[in-house]
């Protein structure tokens, strides 16, 4: 529909997307969940003040039975709430850092493959396929046992197995956008490849990539939880997955010690997914038209 531009204030696509995002109730709910989780992780441990690693109470204490341990204790009497509060930062930190590693690798490889095409594309995509064929968890498990598990190894390990979907998405976006006339126009104006890739195509490819990155954060958190559940994480860190794993054999005696950390993981990932979905909707041009 044709309109006189004079009546419209200059709004950037970013500002418009933000307006849509803020009007999305599900995304707002996700944002609130995340805010609570992050806040609880930041100030929770010092406020609650119970050592998550120490036996502080009787084992197998159900929730609400003793006000000192509102979520109960596990099989050796460690406080479940303290574990949840202190496991938050580790889980979130590992999840986001690993996602960052994955997204950086993915975007770089995908951008180069999609933009240049031809032989570069073939080689990079075979490489990506190779990583997709390896079951990520098995591969990460092997890495974690060959190298001593530490925070850094965990992050790099997860990042290394998480990047292929991002690379595929980035490649598809770049392939689509490199044939747009405005990219051709840049070339006709004498822009160099570097400018076209990073300054022209990448900003336009960002919306789906940002939404995908949010999902990668969620998957990375789940992945870290899975590794820790199997007992393959950094043994010095009490993460939510580790709590579930260590209480696995006592699930019928203290189900709460498994239940609550799982809820914590679930809510965190849900929050991230809701925000990711909201970003996707807000930045998808198909929703913006009309």
């Amino acid at each position: 529909m044709a309109r006189d531009p004079a009546f419209h204030p200059p709004k950037s696509p970013f500002v418009e997307a933000m307006a849509i995002f803020l009007g999305n109730r599900a995304a707002m709910a996700g944002l609130i969940i995340l805010a609570v989780v992050i806040l609880a992780s930041l100030i929770g441990p010092s406020l609650y003040g119970v050592d998550p690693k120490a036996t502080v109470n009787a084992p197998f204490l159900p929730p609400m039975e003793d006000v000192a341990s509102p979520m109960g204790t596990d099989y050796i009497g460690r406080d479940v709430l303290a574990g949840i509060l202190s496991g938050g930062p580790a889980t979130i930190m590992i999840g986001t850092s690993a996602a960052l590693v994955a997204v950086l690798i993915g975007i770089t490889l995908g951008a180069l493959a999609g933009y240049y095409g031809g032989l570069i594309d073939t080689i990079l995509m075979r490489f990506t396929e190779f990583f997709q064929v390896l079951p990520a968890l098995l591969f990460a498990m092997v890495l974690m046992t060959l190298f001593t598990p530490s925070l850094r190894v965990t992050i790099i390990g997860i990042g290394l197995v998480m990047w292929p979907p991002t690379a595929r998405l980035a490649r598809a976006e770049f392939m689509k956008l490199r044939n747009m006339d405005y990219v051709r126009a840049e070339r006709a104006m004498g822009a160099r490849d570097r400018r076209i890739i990073w300054r022209v195509i990448l900003p336009n490819a960002m919306p789906p990539l940002i939404a995908a990155a949010a999902l990668v954060v969620g998957v990375s958190i789940l992945f870290e939880a899975g590794l820790s559940f199997l007992g393959l994480g950094d043994p010095n860190i009490r993460s939510w997955g580790e709590m579930i794993g260590s209480n696995r054999d006592y699930i019928f005696d203290c189900p709460w010690a498994v239940f609550f950390p799982g809820i914590a993981i679930f809510l965190t990932v849900l929050g991230v997914s809701l925000v990711g979905d909201g970003l996707n909707d807000a930045m998808n041009p198909r929703f913006r038209e009309r």
Binding site: P5, A188, G190
Partner: protein, 331 residues
């Protein structure tokens, strides 16, 4: 179509794409998108290329812009052979030839404000200072009929016609010697199309612009172009003065094309009486020897299927043009 005053001389422009597949006999399937095309454009004039979809007219335009990989041939723009340049040397020449695209929606970066869009070619070619560029942006917006205040807006805040004006302003920014127009009005409604065509003609008269104008619409070509080349399956079949060709088309394809245009005429319903071409244009993959049009030509004889006709001067209706047909002037 040779002329001492030509700003652009193109010789034997050829673009072949390998499809990467093979035909039944194991020969590689190669698309002959453009097959040895030559033309000149006089400074300050317009050459039109007309043809149906897939005939190679847009590929010719993009190849002349050096935007197609694998193009061969001489592209002499004011004494510099663009066809022989690569990399930085080619980049340095780009301020001299610019392009206007068909789709006003996809040809402007949605994340750039209008001012920045028009400034980009000058910045990339190191023309002027930031201040003089800003002044030039306002000047250009005014020139194409937009208010300078609109430089703060984003492309999606404009209508299709207004976006095409922005595209024209961007193409004019570096004062190019040649502007390639790839179906610049095909995506617009007729009323807006007329506004844009008039603007382009006014700009040509005022600034002495040279256009290479691609279109599938003979009416638009007739209005815009001093000379025209009719293209069919990668080759020119007839070139010359637009009025000469419109008045007395010599190539059977040009005739069929002209007679198939629906005139606004409720009484003389020529369309229904016109000679009809049968079928669609054949595929440009590994085309058969001989005349490209032979398969659909009502006059084709054996010679047409074996021997490829070259463009040669023919006089018809008292007017001269070049025609690639063995029997031009006789049929």
């Amino acid at each position: 179509m040779t002329d001492g005053d030509a700003i652009l001389r193109v010789r034997d422009l050829t673009v072949h794409f390998d499809t990467g597949t093979r035909d039944a006999e194991g020969k590689p399937r190669v698309v002959h998108a453009v097959d040895g095309v030559s033309f000149d454009i006089r400074r300050g004039s317009t050459l039109g290329i007309i043809g149906e979809s897939g005939c190679g007219k847009s590929t010719t335009a993009l190849a002349a812009m050096r935007l197609v990989a694998g193009a061969r041939g001489r592209i002499d723009l004011g004494g510099v052979d663009l066809g022989g340049l690569e990399g930085e040397a080619l980049r340095r020449q780009r301020h001299r030839f610019q392009i206007i695209f068909q789709d006003p929606y996809s040809s402007l970066n949605p994340r750039q404000r209008v001012g920045s869009l028009i400034r980009t070619p000058m910045a990339l070619q190191d023309q002027g200072t930031p201040e003089t560029r800003d002044r030039r942006v306002d000047e250009l917006l005014d020139l194409v009929g937009l208010r300078p205040e609109t430089r703060h807006l984003f492309p999606h805040q404009f209508s299709g016609g207004q976006r095409q004006r922005i595209g024209i302003a961007r193409a004019l920014a570096t004062n190019p010697d040649l502007i390639v127009c790839d179906e610049p009005v095909s995506a617009l409604d007729v009323a807006i199309q007329a506004q844009i065509l008039n603007l382009m003609k006014d700009l040509q008269a005022e600034l002495g612009l040279t256009y290479l104008f691609i279109s599938h619409d003979m009416g638009v070509i007739g209005y815009m172009c001093h000379e025209v080349a009719v293209m069919y399956l990668g080759v020119f079949v007839e070139t010359g003065d637009t009025r000469a060709i419109l008045a007395a088309p010599a190539h059977p394809y040009t005739r069929a094309l002209l007679s198939a245009i629906p005139r606004v005429d409720p009484v003389n319903r020529s369309l229904m009486a016109a000679t009809r071409l049968s079928g669609d244009p054949p595929s440009p993959v590994n085309p058969a020897p001989g005349c490209r049009f032979a398969a659909r030509c009502p006059h084709a004889v054996d010679r047409c299927r074996t021997e490829r006709p070259a463009l040669r001067p023919v006089t018809l209706g008292g007017m001269e043009r070049s025609v690639a047909c063995h029997f031009a002037g006789e049929i």
